[in-house]
C-alpha cells in the first residue's frame, strides 16, 4: 500500500484580534491508499481544521501536507470534501447541484456528464435528477452531497461529520450506504465524527486527538471479527464494545 496522504509536522495557528489560537501542533500521520480512517477528538480540538489543511483550503502555519507525494498548495481535484450539512443549493435542481464542482473546474463535458448520470442511476437518484433539494428527504440529500463530491472523481474523500445532521435511524442507514459506496469506488477516506460507534463500525483505523491544540493521543487499528464486514454487522462484533470503552475513556468526556 502507498501513502496517499502524508501529514508532516503540521501546525496551524489561527490569528484573530482576540488572540492567537493554536489549533494544531506538530501533527504527523500517514494515510494509506484505500484506507478508511476516522478522526475523533473533543469538540473544538481542530478536526475540521485538519481536514481543511489536507484539502488545501487552508495553508498550515508550519509543516506540510503531501498528497500522492506532492505538496498541497491549494484545492486539488484529487481531494473531495464533504461537509456536515449537505449544503445543496436550493435554486439548482439535483443534477445541477451535482455538477457544480465540474462546472467550477471547467470539466463539464459529455464524458463527465455521463459519469454523473451513471452515479445517479447506481445510487437510486436518477429519477430525482430534475427535482429540487427541498423535495428530497434528509437521507437522500446527503446521498446527493456524496455524489456531488464523487462527481469530480477525487481519490481521497474528506468527510466532516457528514451524518450528524441526520436523525438517528436515517444516520445508521445512510452511513452504511455511504460506506458501501466508498468501498465500491475504492476511495481513500478520512472521516471526522463525534460518534464513536460510527467511527468504530466504519473505519480501518481511528486517530484520537487530544484537546486543542490537537496532537495525536492514540491510534487504533480496528480489527473486528465478524462475518461480513459492513458497519451494521460490525456493531455486533464482540470487540466492538471493548474498542468503544477504551476510546471513550481516552476521550475523557465531562459534561
Amino acid at each position: 500500500m502507498d501513502k496517499v496522504v502524508e501529514v508532516i509536522d503540521v501546525s496551524m495557528n489561527y490569528h484573530t484580534l482576540e488572540g492567537e489560537t493554536e489549533a494544531i501542533r506538530k501533527l504527523n500521520f500517514d494515510i494509506m491508499n484505500g484506507e478508511f480512517v476516522s478522526i475523533v477528538g473533543p469538540s473544538g480540538c481542530g478536526k475540521s481544521t485538519l481536514l481543511s489543511l489536507i484539502s488545501g483550503i487552508l495553508t498550515p502555519t508550519s509543516g506540510k501536507v503531501l498528497i500522492n507525494g506532492k505538496k498541497v498548495e491549494g484545492p486539488s481535484a484529487s481531494v473531495g470534501y464533504m461537509l456536515q450539512k449537505d449544503h445543496l443549493f436550493e435554486w439548482r435542481n439535483i443534477m445541477k447541484n451535482i455538477t457544480i464542482g465540474l462546472e467550477i473546474q471547467g470539466k463539464l463535458n459529455k464524458e463527465n456528464q455521463e459519469f454523473v448520470e451513471q452515479l445517479l442511476k447506481e445510487y437510486g437518484l436518477y429519477e430525482f435528477r430534475n427535482h429540487y433539494p427541498r423535495q428530497l428527504s434528509g437521507g437522500m440529500r446527503q446521498r446527493v452531497a456524496l455524489i456531488r463530491t464523487l462527481a469530480t472523481k477525487p481519490n481521497i474523500l474528506l468527510l466532516d461529520e457528514p451524518f450528524s445532521a441526520l436523525d438517528y435511524q436515517t444516520k445508521i442507514a445512510i452511513s452504511e450506504e455511504v460506506w458501501l459506496i466508498l468501498k465500491k469506488e475504492k476511495k481513500t477516506a478520512i472521516l471526522v465524527t463525534h460518534d464513536l460507534a460510527e467511527a468504530i463500525s466504519m473505519s480501518d483505523r481511528i486517530i484520537v486527538l487530544t484537546k486543542r491544540p490537537a496532537e495525536i493521543k492514540s491510534m487504533h487499528q480496528i480489527n473486528l471479527s465478524c462475518d461480513c464486514k459492513t458497519p451494521i454487522t460490525c456493531r455486533e462484533a464482540p470487540e466492538f464494545r471493548i474498542y468503544f470503552n477504551k476510546i471513550w475513556k481516552e476521550l475523557d468526556v465531562h459534561v
Binding site: I57, S76, Y81, L83, Q84, I100, I104
Partner: protein
Amino acid sequence: MYDDINTNISEEYKKYLKSHRRKKSAIRISRIILLIFIFVLWEIAAQKEWIDPFIMSQPSRILETLITMGKDGSLFIHTGVTVYETIVGFVIGTILGTLIAIALWWSDFLASVLDPYLVVLNALPKTALGPIILVWIGGTTKSIIVMALLFSIVVTIINVYTSFRSCDEDKIKLLKTFGANKKQILRKVVLPSGITSIISTLKINVGLSLVGVIVGEFLVSKAGLGYLIIYGGQVFKMDLVMTSVIILAIVAAVLYLSVLWIEKRVLKMM
C-alpha cells in the same frame, strides 16, 4: 403530500372548516364595517359641523372630486405619472444598489472605507436633500426620479450587501473545495442566495421610492399626486388634497402588494 391528508371529511373537520369560514367572514365584515364606519362618521361629523369640512374635507366631496377627476381623465394622468416615476426610480435603484453592493462585497477595503459614509447617508433624512438635488439635476422629471433613487438606494446597498455578507460561509467553503475563484463564488453562490433578500428589500424600496417621488413632486412637477397635494394646499382645496392622499394610499398599497406578490412568485420558483 396528498396521501397525508384524510380525504373522508369527518364531522369535526366539517365543523372546524365551518367555524373557520365563519371567523374569516367575521373578519372581512369587520374590516368593511370599520371602513364604512370611518367614512360615515366623517361624513356626519362634517355635515353636523362637528368638524370643519372646509379643513377636513368630507367623504361626499371627496367622492365628487374623484368622479370629476375620473371623468376628465386627470385622475389617471396624475396617478400614472406618479406610478411611472416610482417604478422607474425603484427599478434603477434596485439595480444600481445591487451593483454597488457587489462592488463592496468584492473589495473589503472599499466596504470598510465607505462604511461610515453609508451610515451617515442612511441616517440622513433625504427630504432635506430635496432642494439640493433640485439644484443639481434641475427641475425636470429626471430630478424626481433621482429623488426616488436617492430614497431607496442606500437602503438597497446596505441590505443587499448585508445579505451577501451573511451568505453561508460553508456554502462558500464548499465551492472553495472545488477550487472556485472569487468570481465563481459570486456568481454561483453569493448572488443566487442573495436573491431572496434582494427581493425582500424590494418591498421596502418601492415604498421609499414612492416617498421620494412624492417629495420630488412637492418640489418640482407639473403632474403627479404629490403635485396635486401641494397645488390643492395652495388653492386651499382640501377636497383635492384629501382625494389625492386617499388615491396615494391606494397606490402605495397596490405597489406594495404587487411587490409582495412578485416576491412570493420568485420564491416559489426557486
